[in-house]
């Protein structure tokens, strides 16, 4: 029994140590700004198309599904409110994070994993660079900056997607009522958790990707394994953490 849990506990310990070193590194020199901006471009701009598509269709689907339920109660005018709250609180942060996890946790793990198996990380240390500062820190800063911004975009595009279905397509409510309800239904609590979540998810996505990449062993097969593990673990953590954060905000 002890042997069974020893592995996961050891992995978690390594993750916490890496996370600690990376977070401490954020406040230390050298900064490697070029790497930070390169990663911002890769993670932020690179994920924009998939995030916009996901955001738009999640809002549109929500409008579509809600239309029948709301018609039952004669409350179709409330569609904007439901789409906005669900997107800003939950769907926007979670779906964006899952998309970015699928795209970037895997990308980070495979890139760092390939560097590990071809001894580039050892070479980095041998040539005077701390791999945590040079590789992990820029990815952490870039993801923590870009994911909240991507989430804001996804939220807005999602509400727009909801409007497309609710107003021009199904005529559930008037344009003014949809936008007015969407805007007025949002409270600071919603915005707060809608922005805190992507920030926490960003830490998970970047650090899980880096952690699995940097402990890759076993050649190209190992890189594939690290990539899969990174996506699975990051996605599971996102789902678990959204519940925990949601629980805290609900009781506030």
């Amino acid at each position: 029994m002890l042997d069974l849990i020893k592995g996961p506990i050891l992995t978690f310990q390594e993750f916490v140590l890496l996370a600690g070193r990376a977070v401490r590194g954020v406040f230390r020199k050298p900064a490697y700004w070029t790497d930070v901006f390169t990663q911002m471009d890769l993670i932020g701009i690179g994920s924009l198309p998939v995030v916009i598509l996901t955001g738009f269709f999640s809002g549109a689907i929500m409008s579509l599904q809600m239309s029948r339920a709301l018609q039952t109660y004669g409350a179709t005018s409330q569609v904007g409110q439901i789409v906005a709250i669900t997107l800003v609180r939950e769907m926007g942060p979670v779906l964006t994070a899952l998309m970015v996890a699928g795209r970037n946790s895997s990308g980070i793990a495979s890139e760092l994993g390939s560097m590990k198996v071809t001894e580039q990380i050892d070479a980095m240390r041998a040539l005077g660079t701390d791999p945590v500062m040079k590789l992990v820190k820029p990815r952490l800063i870039a993801t923590a900056t870009m994911l909240p911004l991507l989430t804001i975009i996804a939220d807005f595009v999602g509400i727009f997607g909801g409007w497309v279905v609710a107003c021009p397509l199904l005529g559930l409510t008037s344009d003014a009522q949809y936008w007015n309800n969407s805007w007025r239904s949002l409270e600071y609590n919603d915005i707060g958790q809608g922005l805190l979540k992507p920030f926490v998810f960003a830490l998970v996505i970047s650090l899980v990707g880096c952690h699995y990449g940097m402990r890759t062993t076993g050649g190209t097969q190992g890189v594939g394994r690290a990539t899969t593990q990174a996506v699975v673990v990051a996605s599971v953590w996102i789902v678990v953490l959204t519940f925990l954060i949601g629980r805290i905000f609900v009781s506030m």
Partner: protein, 273 residues
């Protein structure tokens, strides 16, 4: 403490390294003095690369002591190691070249990132060019590692190892996976590096011929090529270390190696020779 002419550049004292329940190095001891060459022989998986990485501080020993440049570095911090590594040149088994950087950026990497080695841009460009000319790849500055052949990548690795003009050069399997002609070219460059710069050289290999070349040839700067070393033993001293399952089974000269009665060592020499 500064190392004197005769003090060991690198010494292992009963060094052991374990990974989980596997022993990679088991009580390894050896000494290499300034200007000497060490050829590390052994079959695949016997701990040769682990030994080299332990000497570089990339792997921490579980037992024993490591001395580098006359200092006990067993308990050195990572920060102290960065300073020490500035004095060591290394060629990794897999090359260790950065895929995303050009050849010029790869070779200038240690000059840019080692605080003690930083130099003005003009001087750095000159050193990078000189180092690439040394391995006859002066025309590849703008290329990327993926555009070069395996042998050329290995030569760029050598250029990056010597660009800092280190006191100690570590080569991990420099000829592995290369055709005999390219392997000989690489060995000729290593001998040239050793003789021109008078650097202490450690070479890890599973090919006996590599060690033999290192012992029997020297670089003649006048002729610009390798010539047989003088029979009276003048020139850099080369000694051999043979590893088997993490243990040293032989430590001595080439003559002693060829005369060894140990079947593992003898078989190694016969098979490779």
């Amino acid at each position: 403490m500064a190392a004197t002419q005769d003090s060991p550049i690198l010494a292992f004292d009963a060094v052991s390294v374990r990974f989980d329940d596997q022993t990679a190095l088991d009580g390894v001891s050896f000494t290499i003095r300034r200007g000497e060459s060490l050829v590390l022989l052994g079959e695949a998986g016997c701990g040769k690369t682990v030994l080299l990485k332990t000497a570089l501080g990339l792997i921490r020993p579980d037992a024993g002591r490591v001395f580098l440049f006359g200092e006990d570095v067993t308990a050195a911090s990572e920060q102290q190691w960065y300073g020490l590594r500035a004095r060591i040149g290394v060629l990794f088994q897999e090359g260790g070249l950065f895929d995303s950087l050009s050849i010029e950026e790869n070779v200038s990497y240690p000059l840019l990132n080692q605080p003690s080695l930083r130099c003005p841009g003009g001087e750095m460009a000159e050193r990078v060019e000189r180092s690439l000319e040394f391995v006859e790849l002066g025309h590849t500055l703008e290329k990327y590692p993926s555009e070069l052949s395996g042998g050329m990548r290995r030569r760029v690795g050598i250029a990056r190892a010597i660009v800092t003009e280190p006191e100690l050069l570590l080569y991990d399997s420099p000829t592995a996976g290369l055709d005999p002609i390219t392997a000989t070219t690489i060995m000729a460059l290593i001998i040239k590096g050793r003789d021109v710069r008078r650097a202490t050289t450690v070479i890890v290999t599973h090919r006996y011929q590599d060690g033999e070349m290192l012992t029997r040839y020297r670089h003649d700067p006048g002729l610009g090529r390798l010539t047989p070393a003088s029979a009276n033993g003048a020139g850099p001293k080369t000694h051999y270390l043979v590893l088997r399952a993490g243990r040293v089974v032989f430590d001595g000269s080439q003559a002693a190696l060829e005369a060894s009665a140990d079947p593992y060592v003898a078989n190694f020499v016969r098979r490779s020779g």
